[in-house]
């Protein structure tokens, strides 16, 4: 089970930093794929093929985790906490403190929507209010992502060993807010019948 220790950054020979040149990452991914893809090792022994398959799976997982700045942060948090798997990995969603009051209103409106759904749908006015609130939350969601990608990521990359714990906590709080917003936005979408039936919006990260 050698190689279990190789984390996603190490697979690409990168330090544990968030500032990654994605074009360079892609170039390296292609280069490593060319070298280690199972397609090019069909003649190898079964044991060797199993190793190649495992290494290739690890490379693909590493590329997926690192190519996107937000997935990269989520992975970093997991890694720093010493979790190899997703076990217990779900961040507990947390409402953004400055929006608490608004959230109560929205939750109430959603409750109403749910019971109205059984009787024949929301009226136009309530729908419009919900849609406006959703758009505001979407904006807030994008702000949160921008903060994660920008200021917080830079803070991590420039943090000395003593500041790391703080930077990590900041990530976790921001991710929790983002997860909360995502859930509420999806709930509103569903209440408004917006997205295709039951198709979970792409929660890539």
């Amino acid at each position: 089970m050698k190689g279990r220790g190789l984390d996603h950054f190490e697979v690409f020979g990168l330090p544990r930093r968030l500032g990654i040149d994605t074009a360079e990452l892609q170039r390296k991914f292609y280069e490593l794929s060319r070298r280690g893809h199972p397609d090019f090792h069909q003649g190898a022994s079964p044991e060797r093929q199993a190793e190649i398959l495992e290494a290739s799976a690890r490379l693909n997982a590493a590329y997926r985790a690192l190519r996107d700045p937000l997935a990269r942060i989520e992975y970093l948090v997991r890694l720093e906490e010493g979790r190899d798997t997703r076990e217990g990995a779900t961040v507990k969603p947390k409402a953004p403190p400055e929006l608490l009051e608004e959230m109560f209103e929205i939750q109430e409106a959603l409750q109403e929507a749910k019971s109205a759904g059984q009787t024949g749908g929301l009226e136009a006015g309530a729908k419009e209010t919900l849609a406006t609130q959703r758009d505001r939350l979407r904006e807030r969601y994008e702000q949160e992502e921008a903060r994660l990608r920008g200021r917080l990521s830079q803070a991590w990359d420039s943090a000395g060993p003593a500041d790391r714990a703080g930077a990590l906590t900041a990530f976790k709080e921001s991710l929790a807010v983002r997860a909360y917003l995502r859930t509420v936005i999806d709930d509103i979408d569903e209440a408004l019948g917006g997205s295709p039936e039951g198709y979970v919006s792409h929660r890539r990260h």
């Binding site: 060319r34 893809h37 397609d39 798997t85 295709p196 039951g198 979970v200 929660r203």
Partner: protein, 609 residues
């Protein structure tokens, strides 16, 4: 390395191709008669099994024992397909985790039917190369789930083929285009076949074909277009002739084939005529391209949402796409081309024959695997998210959709009760939040756990999706580093024992030998002519004189007599004589039908005024 061929196992047609060593280009292999497309149709007769064009000619005559579009049933459970069974003339029954097709009291499974098609292609390739062929790359729709892929692999095994790789059809097509036309850029492959629809978005760079996202519908294709036409024709016939042919299996096949042919003609022409002789009347009508488009508009439109979802997953807008490639026979329909062009805002590519391009790409992938091509590499993705059911029936996603394969995910499991020695898990595939709304893949049972207090055992389970898009699961108890025993209960599909038995049994479905096949065909042709002539005599007696009637009846008697013998030449001669004797009557009847159609149109016009 031994030779590997590429096979496109299609809903409507199948093909086999290889890469020519001299030119380095992929080529399709024709059969003895020069035909490249093998209709994916299998007819079970007492004398043996017919495949391809020979089976296609049985559709009308033996609707209940001639199986077509079986790809739509591959890897499916009864509940998945029960809504469309009403349209199929053969009997499909539920079985544990699969469906079975009942033919004259005998059951066959979809992989066994597909195996007969594969075997015929295998033999075609063997005849071409003069050597045994044992390995193949076989294509599947990109949106096929684990069970459908597994069923395709099983079909290969039953046919005596080692399926060294399952490749997604749109990506295979991109390889064929990549070799010959497209070197670099963002590509959208729009693949609308006989029964399935896929959209794949790829980035091509330096010989690497990286799939960014894929989406689709494994139950949407040209078959559905035909069905929409048939339903309209049925209604028209009800209105004009006051009969309902919906329950008449043979008539339905006649209608389906006529609808399909009209659809094909309308790709080149603005209007076309259908003439179908039935027992009591001859149905005649014209259909315009605009009418066809009204019938299939909704179906074509339903391909647009998956395109948008794939683009969103790839993080791209339609305008970002550099090249659009059309694959699959249904992309010949002008409406389809128009909609794709509108969506992406550019003229799509269709230089390579859309019927052949997937097989050509499969041959390229086969050549890569055989080591003959080293500067091209396909990096495909898994189309559907893979997850496990957690408390409350919620799905926890382990491998998100559009992850490059091969890929793996690890998950820790433990016990919840002291001394528990078995842990269950339920693996599902799909994009819904609740396990019950996703596709159940399998239930796994981890057993042999040493008795320990609850929560103590640490079982690491590795979910690996291989380059075929098929799931493999292994488990290790971390304290002892012992591999945990896993029992897999696939929700759909055949068990290992089933496949073994089918490999053994496959000779039961041996193709009829040449002599028997020719006899069946000759008899069938005679049967068709007999039916037509009897029908014509019943409907058109008043159009001919007594002498002509007598000579037709004499020829008919002679033909029926000949048909009972095993002398092919005699049957053929009698058939020819019959055709000659009834030629004049057929002409008279066609004229009458046309006049009738004109008359009814005139009546309509008068009614409108």
């Amino acid at each position: 390395m031994s030779r590997i061929v590429g096979i496109d196992l299609g809903t409507t047609n199948s093909l086999v191709a290889y890469v020519d060593d001299k030119t380095g280009l992929p080529r399709v292999i024709p059969d003895r008669d020069g035909q490249v497309l093998l209709p994916s149709i299998v007819s079970f007769t007492r004398e043996g099994v017919l495949v391809g064009a020979a089976a296609k000619r049985q559709l009308v005559r033996r609707p209940q024992s001639t199986v077509y579009s079986v790809k739509r049933l591959m890897g499916r459970g009864y509940d998945d397909v029960k809504d469309e069974l009403g349209y199929l003339p053969f009997t499909v029954l539920p079985a544990e985790g699969i469906v079975k097709i009942q033919i004259e009291g005998r059951d066959v499974t979809p992989p066994e039917v597909s195996a007969i098609v594969l075997k015929s292609l295998k033999e075609r390739a063997e005849a071409h190369f003069g050597e045994p062929i044992e390995k193949a790359v076989v294509t599947v729709p990109a949106y096929f789930n684990d069970g459908q892929r597994q069923a395709t692999k099983d079909a290969g095994r039953i046919a005596g083929l080692d399926v060294v790789r399952i490749v997604n059809e749109p990506t295979a097509a991109s390889l064929a285009y990549g070799l010959q036309r497209i070197r670099e850029g963002l590509i959208a492959v729009y693949d609308l076949g006989g029964g399935t629809f896929d959209i794949s978005i790829l980035r091509v760079k330096d010989g690497i074909f990286e799939v960014l996202a894929t989406n689709g519908n494994t139950h949407l294709g040209g078959d559905d277009f035909d069905r929409a036409i048939v339903l309209a024709l049925l209604e028209d016939i009800r209105a004009k002739h006051r009969v309902d042919l919906g329950r008449d299996l043979e008539a339905m096949q006649e209608l389906r084939l006529a609808a399909e042919a009209a659809k094909v003609r309308l790709s080149a022409e603005e209007r076309t005529a259908l003439t179908i002789p039935f027992d009591d009347f001859t149905y005649h009508r014209e259909i315009t391209r605009a009418e066809l488009e009204a019938l299939i508009g909704r179906l074509v439109e339903s391909t647009i949402a998956p395109c948008r979802m794939a683009l969103a997953d790839a993080g791209l807008a339609p305008a970002d796409i550099d090249e659009v490639v059309l694959v699959g026979g249904s992309t010949r329909v002008p409406l389809v081309r128009r909609r794709v062009q509108e969506l992406f805002g550019k003229m799509p590519h269709s230089q390579l024959n859309p019927d052949e391009v997937v097989a050509l790409g499969a041959a390229v992938q086969a050549q890569i695997l055989a080591g003959g091509i080293t500067d091209m590499l396909l990096l495909d993705v898994t189309p559907l998210s893979l997850g496990i059911e957690t408390l409350g029936g919620i799905v926890s996603v382990l491998i998100p959709r559009n992850t490059t394969i091969p890929t793996s995910a690890r998950e820790m499991f433990t016990t919840s009760v002291d001394g528990q020695h078995v842990v269950d898990m339920h693996v599902v595939q799909g994009e819904r939040e609740l396990a019950k709304d996703c596709r159940s893949l399998a239930r796994f049972e981890l057993s042999g756990i040493d008795p320990m207090p609850a929560g103590m055992p640490k079982i690491e389970v590795v979910f690996l999706i291989d380059a075929n898009g098929i799931l493999n699961v292994t488990a290790t108890e971390l304290r002892s580093q012992k591999a945990a025993a896993i029992e897999v209960k696939p929700t759909y599909g055949l068990s290992e024992a089933d496949v073994e038995r089918m490999v053994e049994d496959s000779f039961t479905y041996a193709e009829a030998d040449v002599e028997a096949r020719l006899l069946i065909e000759t008899r069938n042709e005679a049967d068709t002519v007999i039916t037509h002539v009897e029908r014509a005599l019943a409907q058109g007696r008043r159009l001919i004189g007594d002498d002509e009637h007598a000579s037709i009846v004499a020829a008919l008697t002679a033909l029926k007599d000949a048909r009972g013998s095993t002398d092919r030449d005699r049957i053929r001669e009698a058939t020819t004589a019959m055709n000659r004797a009834s030629e004049h009557l057929a002409e008279l009847m066609m004229d009458a039908a046309l006049k009738g159609a004109l008359a009814s149109r005139r009546a309509d016009e008068i009614m409108e005024k």
